[in-house]
Subunit: 172 residues, 2 copies
Amino acid sequence: MKEKLIVDMDGVLSDIYQQLINYQYKENGILANLKDLEGKTEREVFDNFDNYIHSEGFFVNSNPIKGSVEVLQTLNEKYNLFIVSAAMQFPKSLTEKVQWLKMYFPFITWKQIVLCGTKDIIKGDIMIDDHFMNLDKFSGKTILYTQPHNIKINDHKHQRVNNWFEIKDLVD
Amino acid sequence: MKEKLIVDMDGVLSDIYQQLINYQYKENGILANLKDLEGKTEREVFDNFDNYIHSEGFFVNSNPIKGSVEVLQTLNEKYNLFIVSAAMQFPKSLTEKVQWLKMYFPFITWKQIVLCGTKDIIKGDIMIDDHFMNLDKFSGKTILYTQPHNIKINDHKHQRVNNWFEIKDLVD
């Protein structure tokens, strides 16, 4: 039986940081630098964070993170893959997230998608996520995807990866 | 720590059978009898099942099953409650299901809702569902909610309940 691989969306498959930077730049001409965002939550950095993520089109118009499509297609053969996104706080995102996956990851079927509020009730063998709160409660192997908000935290409970090519080396 | 209670939507909280009966009656005047549906899947009984469930408004306009609101409100205090619905096959249902819960079960927050394709990756302590395929893969205590499609199957792995008042007696 294939192992269950649980993959997060925002900040792991979809480039939410770039999308936030674009939205802020369009709104007020401030071009945030990824270096300046290190160690801070998105809400601390982007004044209108809540407006951005609640606006129509925010999720569906984001770009996939480099390498995610090719590597995930390979992993989809080897693992029992599930995409699990904590989307329930943002009602507009529900259909956008499904549309977005269909667009960039057409090999992922509806059976493999989970939209939830918290990930406390998700079980599996491996979880890839950029948030400690999700990884800390998972009982299987945990992989932390580097994003500015988590980059300054040294935590040896989870294996850290910096990009999708490192994920490939680790789990393929 | 409170036990995690996983509750299904269609056929457990929402009266999907009555909704299917209404849709068929409106369409062609055939009034199905619940007795005639016993031992058959909804798809076997309702010729236009797929049209009905894919149509806008099907889920949001269904009624809650008798007793579900009052009993679930009590259980929400005692348990760490999650509503888990296999909704991903029906993209229109995603926002409708969230709206519907907000309307009839306002005490349930966004953190407690999970919309998925299959329930294979759901963990918890107790699951209430009307489908064997969901209960069979669950590692905790399982409660089968009686519906016409499951009524003829004798299965002693799961505790059978016939209404929400029996659920209250069992788990409250």
